[in-house]
């Protein structure tokens, strides 16, 4: 058994800093080693985008940037023996693997790639429903029947164990679909340290490490509210690395000579990110207790994380479904001094009047005043009369596409038919885009089985 392993975070979301994963590999050295790199590509909305791509072209449906990244780092990861674990396979991990194989062949490199399948339940929803799985909305309790014919994607969140199996079979790259962000980090710890399935404290520790790594630089100085000016060299921000030990303790750090900051405070902020009840951080692998986490700032961008407790996993997988829920469009105009806010509010009144006159029907019309109070409405001390210029953002949402189109046609005319000193209308008419809503549900773990395939090319 290794005495420690180092897991680097390479990507916090699909569209994160492109150079980050490449630098994590490039800067790996004997003095700052990397054994694994995890990359998180999937957000709730991502699966529906990928599903749409796959419908148009069955060879797509995964994060294409991922293949570019892997192609770039391929010689280096073979040379340095670094393993990559990512959920960038989206709704088509096999196509992603084939693209990686094609890149490897071109470079004359032999590589073992594992895929985790079985999370995509889009084609078996009816079967699952017939089998007594209700897939009701776990937040509202609504029945899936209400939206069944509009479902775009449906995926089970798998945890670490299928990835562990792929690693056990010798995969150097593991491509999954909807595997939890935390599972990507936990898996190599289980694999290397031989943790058992019911060693809940250690499984929870690895899960907490995953939570710290899953948003990339958000634990190493990015979006840091305590003292952002203390963060060095944002331009070359270093993504976090977890140095994990067999007893479940780990240290969060980053490569030397990179920008950013790892401190008790940067790690604490990420620990609080997007959590609910801290005593119940539920994943497919365990229930981690965030009130048990201890932090010790060791200085020089090293924070020790220890003491973590956890409880047994539940009998359910979380399911993430997306469905079509009408259309939306938005557009902006900019008004300046004098009376910028008065004019912006008048523009809002005019636009609403014209849309009403045209017989438009919307579920929601929202007007926000960017630069005045769009984010902190009601909390800003700024007086409206003092506003020098304001971007007014109009948004509409509804089931009637014609109404959304009519909104698009009525925005630009405000420039010649409304209050003066207005600009900033660019990019043409706002077009209706599909609103994709999110349907979270639970599914008995026995209802689906992960499949792992490891192949070498």
């Amino acid at each position: 058994m290794k005495s420690k392993i180092r897991i680097a975070s390479g990507q916090g979301f699909w569209g994160d800093l492109p150079i980050a994963p490449i630098e994590q590999i490039k800067l790996a050295s004997a003095s700052s080693p990397v054994d694994y790199m995890m990359m998180d590509y999937l957000a709730e909305v991502t699966m529906s985008i990928m599903q749409k791509q796959k419908l148009r072209d069955p060879k797509t449906g995964y994060a294409r940037d991922l293949v570019e990244v892997i192609d770039t780092v391929l010689p280096d990861i073979v040379d340095k023996n670094i393993k990559i674990i990512t959920n960038g396979g989206g709704v088509n991990p096999e196509a992603c693997r084939d693209a990686i194989f094609a890149a490897a062949r071109k470079r004359g490199i032999k590589i073992k790639v594992g895929v985790v399948l079985g999370d995509n339940i889009l084609d078996s929803i009816d079967e699952l429903l017939a089998g007594g799985n209700k897939l009701a909305n776990m937040e509202t309790g609504e029945s899936l029947n209400d939206v069944r014919d509009r479902v775009l994607s449906a995926n089970v969140y798998f945890g670490a164990w299928p990835v562990v199996e792929a690693l056990r079979q010798g995969a150097q790259i593991v491509i999954t679909g909807r595997t939890t962000d935390t599972g990507l980090t936990l898996a190599p710890m289980i694999h290397e340290f031989g943790w058992s399935e019911n060693d809940w404290d250690k499984i929870s520790a690895g899960t907490v490490a995953g939570h710290i790594l899953e948003c990339g630089a958000q634990s190493s100085g990015g979006n840091f509210s305590a003292d952002w000016k203390k963060v060095k060299d944002f331009t070359n921000i270093g993504f976090p690395i977890a140095e994990a030990y067999p007893n479940g303790e780990f240290i969060i750090t980053k490569h030397p000579k990179t920008g950013g900051l790892v401190s008790r405070q940067t790690v604490a902020e990420q620990l609080l990110y997007e959590i609910g009840d801290p005593r119940e951080y539920i994943t497919p692998d365990c229930i981690a207790d965030f009130t048990s986490i201890h932090l010790e700032d060791l200085g020089r961008d090293r924070v020790k994380v220890f003491g973590i407790k956890g409880r047994p996993a539940t009998d359910f997988y979380k399911v993430s479904m997306s469905y079509n829920d009408g259309f939306s469009a938005s557009g902006t105009l900019t008004y300046t001094w004098p009376e910028a806010m008065e004019k912006a509010r008048m523009a809002d009144k005019i636009l609403r009047g014209r849309l009403k006159k045209a017989g438009c029907v919307f579920d929601e019309v929202r007007t926000e005043y960017l630069g005045f109070n769009s984010c902190h409405a009601g909390l800003t001390p700024t007086k409206e009369a003092k506003v020098q210029e304001v971007v007014v953002k109009f948004g509409v949402r509804g089931k009637d596409k014609k109404s959304i189109e009519e909104f698009g046609r009525n925005l630009a005319p405000l420039i010649l038919t409304g209050p003066p000193s207005v600009t900033g209308f660019a990019g043409g008419r706002p077009k209706p885009s599909d609103v994709v809503a999110y349907w979270p549900a639970l599914l008995r773990k026995t209802a689906v089985t992960p499949r792992v395939i490891v192949e070498e090319v």
Partner: protein, 114 residues
């Protein structure tokens, strides 16, 4: 005495469906009892009047000197549906740091002298 949270705390926020989560962390351990006592559910609900349209949950993390708030019915339907400019509640951490609490001067003094 009035204390603005930004002087004794830092924070991070994000989305959980139509709820926003705001994690509020004391800058020093000695401030944790202060925020625990004064940044109550009711105070936060009142502070976010007009932004948070649902109930507020509060959870304590003394180990991280932190409180976690869930502001329900806050993001205009949630990430993918919302027309809000800040559909994911990313700036609500800063919004909470605007809050002022009225703390007995002795408490702050004593804590500072410690």
């Amino acid at each position: 005495m009035k204390v603005q949270l930004i002087d004794i705390c830092h924070a991070r926020s994000g989305d959980k469906g139509d709820a926003a989560n705001v994690g509020l962390i004391a800058r020093e351990e000695k401030f944790y009892p202060v925020i625990k006592q004064y940044v109550t559910r009711a105070a936060v609900k009142k502070h976010f009047k007009g932004i948070c349209l649902g109930p507020v949950d509060r959870f304590e993390l003394p180990n991280l000197w932190a409180l976690n708030f869930l502001l329900h019915n806050t993001l205009g339907g949630g990430g993918t549906v919302s027309l809000k400019h800040d559909a994911q509640g990313k700036t609500l951490a800063a919004a909470l740091l605007r809050m002022e609490i009225d703390v007995p001067a002795a408490l702050m003094k004593k804590k500072k002298a410690k």
